[in-house]
């Protein structure tokens, strides 16, 4: 999914429109899902602000595609934190599922089913604590290294491992509880 696109990055550094659009098409979907999993209010607006920040500073950026992803999610992490704090000051944030359902437009049945699967996955991930959901999203879904996740979240690598482990364990428990047979308690005479 993520390959080295040094030529695209080089073109984007000088402001090439096609290169900027290519970067946007590659990273927009993971960025939106990452923001939704963190229960960020108005994820589309935050994503747009993240891309404007990227375009503003990309001429000074140096690195390959992996470095660019780490840089992109670092900006998204900070923007998400700001947005969540702003939303907490104004009103109570909505759930990720409700946010996605409100932003989602109806389409074909197959696409609707895919959207439902995606929305349910994001909603399940959003039930985790915010730091665990973010660590799982970055490490497992977006395949960032432990050091990159630690750099994005501003925590140590050991803490990232613990958060990922606890997040996956909690997800498994939720899934097992969902699909476990209903236990009937026998009355002891």
């Amino acid at each position: 999914m993520f390959r080295r696109r040094s030529s695209t990055l080089d073109a984007a550094r000088v402001g090439d429109r096609e290169a900027l659009a290519a970067l946007w098409r590659i990273h927009q979907a993971p960025l939106l899902r990452y923001l939704r999993s963190r229960r960020t209010p108005s994820p589309d607006d935050v994503a747009s602000q993240v891309w404007i920040d990227v375009a503003t500073s990309i001429s000074r950026f140096e690195g390959d595609d992996d470095d660019f992803r780490r840089w992109l999610f670092t900006i998204a992490h900070r923007r998400s934190v700001d947005q969540i704090r702003r939303a907490v000051r104004t009103s109570a944030p909505r759930s990720a599922f409700a946010v996605r359902a409100a932003d989602h437009a109806a389409g074909a049945d197959v696409e609707h089913e895919d959207h439902d699967a995606l929305d349910r996955a994001v909603a399940l991930l959003a039930t985790l604590p915010a730091d665990q959901a973010e660590a799982v999203m970055l490490r497992v879904v977006n395949d960032l290294t432990i050091s990159d996740v630690a750099s994005v979240m501003g925590i140590s690598e050991g803490n990232v491992r613990v958060l990922v482990h606890r997040g996956l364990t909690r997800l498994r428990r939720k899934l097992s509880v969902t699909h476990a047979p209903v236990a009937t308690m026998k009355r002891v005479p």
Binding site: M1, G15, R17, L20, A21, W24, R25, Q28, A29, L32, R33, S37, D44, A47, S48, W51, I52, D53, V54, A55, T56, S57, I58, S59, R60, F97, H104, A105, G107, E111, D114, H115, A117, L118, R120, A121, V122, A123, L124, L125, M137, V140, V141, L168, L171, R172, K174, L175, T178, H179
Partner: protein, 263 residues
């Protein structure tokens, strides 16, 4: 039953999350990319400004550190102990060299305007001869001091009622003593003291050279030399007189004693 019933495994969760982008997620491509292009264009000027600011800040920091280190080294109280200043490595900012196109301006030959030379007339200032004022020579009148004739011994003194013809032989003191003893009845001792009995009539000058020689010839020569000077002749004479008077005091004492012995 809840909303996660169809998610049986972790792959069911991460599969949709790793899937390709949905069309709905890419619906705002044009608007977002336009904003990105605008943001990139506006950031180019800011980048130059930031780069210049960074260069200026680097130069200022280097200068402050350099002068601060020199000042700290020069103001060390020990003086002999060398102060180890930590070497601060300033990151080198590589600034891209921007080659500006050389614009050749057309050479415009300006007409040479010869300005007329204006010769200013030479003005000779008249020489003013100041008149010589001859001051009149004032001849001061010569004042002749009156010659005071000192009384001669033996002559009757008009200031006293004492008959100086009846003086006792000897010095003045014997006559005064005789009057005091009452040998001259009717004559007061004051008149006898004012009389010229026994006085020689000449001013007795001390015989300095005879009684007491000068201790050093250089002093006398110096005093003479000083006296010979035209400017300081008065002061030299006064100093010599003071020395003589001092010497006279001693010599007079000795002289009087000698005279008393002689008498």
């Amino acid at each position: 039953m809840n909303e996660f019933d169809d998610l049986t495994d972790l792959d069911d969760v991460f599969g949709p999350l790793r899937s390709v982008a949905r069309p709905a997620e890419l619906s705002q491509e044009n608007a977002t990319v336009d904003l990105m292009v605008k943001a990139h264009r506006t950031s180019e000027g800011k980048q130059m400004f930031t780069s210049r600011r960074a260069r200026i800040a680097t130069l200022v920091a280097t200068g402050v550190l350099g002068f601060g280190g020199m000042a700290a080294a020069s103001s060390s109280p020990g003086g002999d102990d060398p102060v180890e200043v930590p070497v601060v490595e300033v990151p080198v900012v590589e600034v891209p060299v921007v080659e500006l196109p050389v614009v050749e301006l057309p050479v415009v030959e300006e007409p040479v305007v010869e300005e007329p030379v204006i010769e200013e007339p030479v003005v000779e200032e008249p020489v003013i001869e100041e008149p010589v004022i001859e001051l009149p020579v004032i001849e001061l009148p010569v004042v002749e001091e009156p010659v005071v004739e000192e009384p001669v011994a033996g002559d009757p003194d008009p200031d006293t009622a004492f008959d100086e013809n009846t003086c006792r032989p000897g010095n003045h003191g014997k006559t005064v003593s005789a009057v005091a003893r009452g040998e001259f009845p009717g004559v007061s001792v004051t008149d006898a003291a004012h009389s010229s009995c026994g006085k020689s009539g000449e001013v007795e000058e001390p015989e300095v050279e005879e009684t007491e020689p000068e201790p050093e010839e250089s002093e006398s020569e110096g005093s003479e030399a000083k006296a010979d000077r035209p400017d300081k002749s008065d002061k030299g004479a006064e100093k010599a007189a003071n020395r003589n008077s001092n010497g006279n005091a001693n010599s007079n004492g000795n002289g009087n004693g000698n005279r008393n012995r002689d008498d």
